[in-house]
Subunit: 147 residues, 2 copies
């Protein structure tokens, strides 16, 4: 098996093929990682969430990381890492175009609102929101079997 750096085109292709990734955020130096669904449009990843721990942390510190991967065998995989900033798309004048765009992109897929859109049974409902993450840095690695 050899490992090679992926170029930007390869990284973007994986971003566009993936529906799910793992979002990392951090508070007081403590990282927190959760699965998210997202869709890419231009230089952003768009997502949807209820307000909870991750949103609270990202409001305090918008520096985030999204990692996604694809395993096609134990010796064949790709992993892409996005580093960027979290930004909410508020439900008020001036943001309608971006919110409609996010809705349009995310709603192409069934179950687009899961897992970020649901809370455990018994917890009080919280407001939901659209957000986006800027793709400030994009890197990837690919493992290939040696022929």
């Amino acid at each position: 098996m050899i490992i090679v750096e992926m170029d930007r085109t390869g990284c973007l292709a994986l971003l566009d093929a993936a529906r799910m990734g793992r979002l990392g955020c951090a508070r007081d130096g403590q990282p927190y990682v959760v699965p998210i669904t997202f869709t890419r449009d231009g230089g952003y990843l768009y997502g949807f969430s209820l307000v909870g721990q991750k949103v609270s942390w990202m409001r305090d510190n918008p520096k985030v990381c999204v990692q996604l991967d694809e395993f096609t065998g134990t010796r064949a995989w790709k992993s892409v890492v996005v580093q960027g900033r979290y930004e909410e798309l508020p439900d008020r004048i001036g943001w309608k175009t971006q919110r409609d765009r996010a809705w349009s992109l995310l709603s192409r897929h069934a179950d687009w609102w899961e897992p970020g859109g649901l809370k455990p049974a018994g917890e009080a409902p919280t407001p939901h929101l659209f957000y986006r993450i800027s793709i400030d840095e994009l890197t990837g690695r690919e493992a290939r079997p040696v022929q």
Copy 2:
């Protein structure tokens, strides 16, 4: 679909069934997430890595997060989050028992040294190391289809 909090037994069962998770570390408030393979023994997750960005970051800030999940359908999944501290198992007197134990546990599985154990082709080889992550906090959520 309903979402429920998983109990400690359920979280540990997923940790023991999983071979791979996503490790989050952070430096200067910037999270970094990468896939790792690990194995649990008692209150620790054991892993292996070459020295690179994640090890460098964890040496600076040992607060880490490991997230793993299992999807058995779009409406049936489990996700577990470990928060703990990174600790190296150095190759010197006093650590032999822990290192041998880590080796023994990790080597039960084929390909246990991937993906953390390989660098992109062309990069200079770097030292490898064993590490462990204390399971300080363990939480999980499970989604189940509504019957």
